[in-house]
């Protein structure tokens, strides 16, 4: 039976959707059967980041309401055989998603996949609560920036109380994923360090994703960063994080300052 992971943060724009797509694709490349589920009803974007926006017909809400079968709403990724997307509805309100309905869909997904990765909407409202309700594990995405850390701290409190697994006496595994980390600015003491963030959010670290231009490029092209930017530091950081989710032990490295163009040029010439 598959595991359900919620990717959440409280604050918007920190990289939940990018991370959901990147981790989902990395797990699928590692041979796992993965479905990424967009819970951001009304403001869906995971389909865009996955490059599947032209193929979205039925969505999560249709399946919950019984107007479509799960198999009709599941979109197979065009690049990775083991990766699927379940899109959010763009038009119907959040009210259309009932807790019982979502429970049924998640249970079906658990049977079919090794990993069910739920992309939570920002905020702490109903949609975000529903996204974490059936989770076995939570990935808290945070930027080294005070408002993001504060919001994640709030989300951490909710992750500790709201999921069904916690209510029924179980333990929910939490992971911290630091994104948009800029080693140069941290070195200059212009950005919170990994330790600063972890002091407020005492959760096992899943990965540190460096700030990179590659993320925008991947979004422009409509492909998870772990698919279209394989050699980039960001992609490698996500691939390592995905392996940690699976339980592999991978040494944690704090991203170092990127080589300058000049150094790269020299390096390229020598090679």
């Amino acid at each position: 039976m598959g595991k359900v992971i919620v990717v959440t943060s409280g604050k918007g724009g920190v990289g939940k959707t990018t991370s959901t797509a990147a981790l989902g694709a990395a797990l699928a490349r590692g041979g796992q059967r993965v479905v990424v589920v967009d819970f951001d009803v009304g403001l869906r974007n995971l389909d865009l980041v996955m490059g599947a926006e032209r193929r979205v017909g039925f969505d999560l809400t249709n399946v919950v309401q019984g107007t479509a079968k799960l198999s009709e709403a599941l979109l197979k990724d065009e690049r990775l055989d083991a990766l699927y997307l379940l899109a959010a509805s763009r038009t119907r309100g959040k009210e259309a998603l009932t807790e019982d309905g979502v429970a049924g869909v998640i249970s079906e997904l658990r049977d079919q996949f090794d990993w069910v990765v739920c992309d939570s909407p920002a905020g702490i409202e109903r949609g975000a609560m529903l996204a974490m309700r059936f989770a076995d594990e939570a990935i808290i995405v945070v930027n080294p920036e005070i408002s993001s850390v504060r919001d994640s701290s709030r989300i951490l409190g909710l992750v500790d109380t709201r999921p069904l697994k916690v209510e029924t006496g179980g333990r929910l595994d939490k992971h911290l994923l630091i994104t948009r980390f800029d080693p140069v600015r941290v070195a200059r003491r212009e950005m919170l360090s990994v330790d600063d963030v972890r002091e407020v959010l005492p959760v096992p670290l899943l990965g540190i994703i460096p700030e990179s231009e590659e993320v925008l490029r991947a979004s422009n092209l409509g492909a998870p960063i772990t698919v279209c930017g394989r050699e980039s530091a960001v992609s490698r950081a996500y691939i390592d994080a995905a392996r940690r989710i699976k339980g592999d032990w991978i040494e944690m490295t704090v991203p170092a300052k990127d080589k300058s163009r000049f150094t790269k040029w020299l390096g390229g010439r020598a090679a």
């Binding site: 865009l48 926006e53 032209r54 193929r55 017909g57 039925f58 249709n62 107007t67 479509a68 079968k69 198999s71 009709e72 763009r90 038009t91 119907r92 925008l216 490029r217 979004s219 422009n220 092209l221 409509g222 040029w265 390229g268 010439r269």
Partner: protein, 100 residues
Amino acid sequence: MSRFIPQTPMGSAPVARARLQSLLEYDRSLISHADLLSVLREEIFALIGRHAVIDANKVHFMVVRGNTASTLTVDIEVPFRVRPTATRYAHDGENAFSYP
């Protein structure tokens, strides 16, 4: 040598722009028909169901959006067994092919 020629790599922004335009055009057109696909699914299923005994699990609807139109793919397994109410059609067929 190419290293010394200033490189203007093909940016990804034009791709994003094209995707965005096509997406917004579609989104706007869809607003008044938010549930069109669900309605079509229900009605087509009901229509075929009037004539043949079809299994809801063997119905598959899929849509792929092109630049100016979408392609709707409907895959329904229709067994040889027809509904009694549909025998009228079977009779018509017999009449058409039988000799007096």
